[in-house]
Symmetry: C2
Subunit: 192 residues, 2 copies
């Protein structure tokens, strides 16, 4: 299966995106080991997370509709944000993957969502902080936190993502805000 996916990735992704995928795979496997997540699932999810990245806007919108994914305005404005949803569709249709946790970790690796599973968090973080990822303010803190406090790493990563979206004066995705708020609420509950 892994070889079949690698061949497909080389066909569908430009070299820099292929390298990024290998970086996500490496980081996801490390995090899976640390946090006790099935290594094979982490590897499959990491390999497939961006497989649809270079598809057209129209195909992404179509895939999202077929997946019954709710299309809020941010997605209509920037359909490429749906590449994770389309990657999940490809994983299901072309590679026969039916594990819900793997599919969700593809679907939600761009925006996050409330109550993410460990695997979902691992793919979200590996995508943002793999070794080849271009430097941004805060990346070292995320890399440090993701090994020893994955919820803290998620808060930092979501905050960084939302700050970037607002700097670009783009729409915030509701799921991202919910993801951030649900983790902050969890931390507040621990503190009380």
């Amino acid at each position: 299966m892994k070889n079949k996916i690698l061949i497909e990735l080389q066909k569908r992704l430009k070299p820099s995106r292929y390298q990024h995928t290998l970086g996500v795979c490496e980081t996801a496997m490390q995090l899976a080991k640390i946090h006790g997540v099935d290594l094979e699932k982490a590897e499959l999810a990491a390999l497939l997370h961006d497989i649809a990245k270079h598809e057209s806007d129209d195909k992404m919108l179509q895939a999202a509709k077929e997946m019954h994914f709710p299309l809020e305005e941010a997605y209509l404005e920037t359909p490429n944000l749906l590449h994770g949803v389309m990657s999940a569709k490809i994983a299901k249709d072309e590679f026969g993957i039916d594990d819900e946790d793997i599919l969700n970790s593809l679907i939600y690796h761009t925006a996050g969502r409330e109550n993410m599973s460990l695997l979902e968090k691992i793919i979200y973080l590996a995508d943002i902080a793999e070794p080849g990822r271009k430097f941004f303010s805060g990346i070292e803190e995320i890399r440090h936190a993701m090994s020893n406090n994955i919820n803290r790493a998620m808060i930092l990563a979501l905050r960084s993502s939302m700050t970037y979206v607002m700097q670009q004066e783009k729409l915030l995705i509701k799921d991202t805000v919910k993801a951030y708020n649900s983790l902050i609420a969890e931390e507040l509950q621990k503190g009380t």
Copy 2:
């Protein structure tokens, strides 16, 4: 009416908050002139916006319940965020103000909301950018924009507020996100 309010403010507010209120009043009147909003409404709203600022958390929560204001988690965590809601209640109960636009501009001056009226925007911005407000990164840009492009000033102010909330690792208020997104969506529509 103005004198009666000023006397009450001096009783209820500490001197620095009283000075802030006069600054908000000055800025709100300037903005009301520029944007063609009733000066008397702007003055009343500015004077009363923080009248409940030093009330106890319990009183604020009680006032919010009586005003049927939806209490999401951020308000339960930091009840002082409800001081605008309680100020509206005081404006109604003690000063007989029943103008919905004035009351809404008190209620929403802290978090904002979708589809704010001009008066609501003026009070929100005057609160953030009155001359005595402590410097923060971006304040000069907001001061410049609020005179000639009030929606742009709101985007900058909401972004600055949400960035600050996330730096403090506090909960984001849904209305604030909706306020930001609705203004961005409006700008995007103009652009297309």
